[in-house]
């Protein structure tokens, strides 16, 4: 390993691999090294890759912590996961390590876009703080060129085929899109719309619950979606000019809710940091990220749109690559 690459406390490294052997070549030394040094490791992978690792590690796998794959569904949730892990091991003298594959093959373009924004934000979120080393595998065979290029842009120290390198395309934060920049495709013509103010919160919840029932969401998922949309519209009322517009529509495999208002979210880390218990308010966006399968937020001085989706039908854990 080239130690000169460790300039900042957060070592954020991409592993570009082709095939399962390559994946193991890139991850096993990292994990075994951590185990030898007594460093805490959290492994966040889809079921297929996690199983591959478990089999390769044998008994050693029991000494690692594996995150349940569903926790990776909404990329924005992952920042909190790592912060909590770091806090948990704050007393440990060694470097904390993690493996995280958020951009697995089979994810939609919308999900991959959020993955890229999330990865770029990690560098900012962990610029100061305890030293830790995060390895992010990217499947060269199954992911598109755009996704790979985006990964090169947000990982300062990429590793390919087990050899540490240096990314020539790692750009300044200004080049990567901020998490809320840009726009989203327009809602489809077949949607139901409801304009709301502070007096319409109950009506919003009812409408979401109705669509949740129509989409046959399980009760828990329906309640989660109602709560999430409620948080978004409450934010619109409190910070977005007193109200906004809700649009709901059904897509194959998902129920989508889109909330627009005139507010502007300036904090790039909004919704990604779990609020401490003694902070009484300001939990809304963080909650939305925990509850929904995907959260896309676009915000500018012209206004904000927050679009959340809940998977309908069978709720898969990660796609097996």
């Amino acid at each position: 390993m080239n130690l000169a690459l460790v300039e900042k406390p957060f070592r954020h490294e991409a592993l570009f691999y082709s095939g399962e052997d390559d994946f193991l070549r890139g991850t096993l030394p990292f994990l075994l090294g951590a185990l030898r040094a007594g460093e805490p490791v959290l492994v966040a992978l889809g079921e297929h890759r996690a199983e591959l690792l478990r089999q390769a590690l044998g008994r050693d796998a029991e000494r690692l912590r594996f995150l349940e794959p569903q926790a990776l569904a909404n990329p924005a949730r992952t920042t909190s996961t790592w912060r909590e892990f770091l806090t948990e091991h704050a007393q440990n003298a060694g470097v904390v390590r993690g493996i995280c594959e958020v951009a697995w093959p089979g994810r939609s373009a919308a999900e991959l876009e959020e993955c890229e924004r999330h990865e770029a934000l990690l560098n900012e979120a962990f610029a100061e703080g305890p030293a830790w080393h995060l390895l992010c595998p990217y499947d060269l065979e199954a992911l598109g060129a755009e996704t790979i290029a985006a990964a090169r842009r947000c990982h300062p120290a990429p590793m390919q085929e087990g050899v540490a390198g240096h990314s020539s395309t790692y750009g300044s934060p200004k080049r990567a899109p901020g998490p809320f920049s840009g726009s989203l495709p327009s809602p489809p013509p077949e949607h139901e719309g409801l304009a709301f103010t502070s007096r319409g919160l109950g009506a919003v919840r009812s409408l979401v619950a109705q669509h949740g029932a129509r989409a046959e969401l399980a009760e828990a998922a329906r309640e989660d979606l109602v709560l999430a949309v409620n948080e978004l519209v409450t934010n619109s009322v409190q910070y977005g000019g007193g109200g906004g517009t809700l649009r709901i529509w059904h897509e194959p495999g998902a129920l989508v809710c889109d909330v627009r208002d005139r507010g502007f979210i300036e904090d790039p880390l909004a919704g990604r940091i779990p609020p401490p218990l003694d902070q009484y308010g300001g939990r809304g966006l963080w909650l939305v990220n925990q509850l929904c399968d995907l959260v896309q937020i676009r915000s500018s001085p012209e206004g904000t749109v927050a679009r959340v989706r809940m998977r309908t039908g069978e709720r898969p854990t990660c796609a097996s690559a």
């Binding site: 007096r199 009484y280 909650l287």
Partner: protein, 120 residues
């Protein structure tokens, strides 16, 4: 596009305060959100509330609570603590329990099986 005038907050949440020898119980019915939070806040300011040894928020008939409602509950908990008063809640519906658990608030509060319960 529909425009909805919405219902008044009063129909949204009802708080009944019941004082007994060793506790005061605030029984919530309905939905606790941005529109109805002030109803709970006002009920908590009642003189009967601060003088009891134990303050119980009975959430069993609360159908819905969000982060703004949670804020009022957390503040009530903190104020009780500051005046040396015991504080407890009842579990509430699935939705209420979900919010309290996902925010890790539940593990920091005393939960009673029912509002007149003696055990934690």
């Amino acid at each position: 596009m529909r425009y909805d005038a919405g219902v008044g907050a009063q129909e949204h949440l009802r708080v009944e305060t019941r004082r007994s020898e060793n506790r005061v119980v605030l029984h919530l019915t309905g939905e606790l959100d941005l529109a109805s939070s002030s109803i709970l806040e006002r009920a908590l300011e009642d003189a009967d509330v601060s003088s009891a040894p134990l303050l119980v928020l009975d959430l069993d008939e609360l159908k819905f609570v969000d982060s703004t409602g949670l804020r009022v509950i957390l503040l009530a908990h903190e104020r009780a603590r500051e005046r040396g008063q015991e504080f407890a809640i009842t579990p509430g519906s699935q939705q209420v329990q979900r919010l309290l658990s996902i925010t890790s608030v539940a593990e920091h509060m005393r939960v009673l099986a029912s509002p007149d319960d003696l055990s934690a």
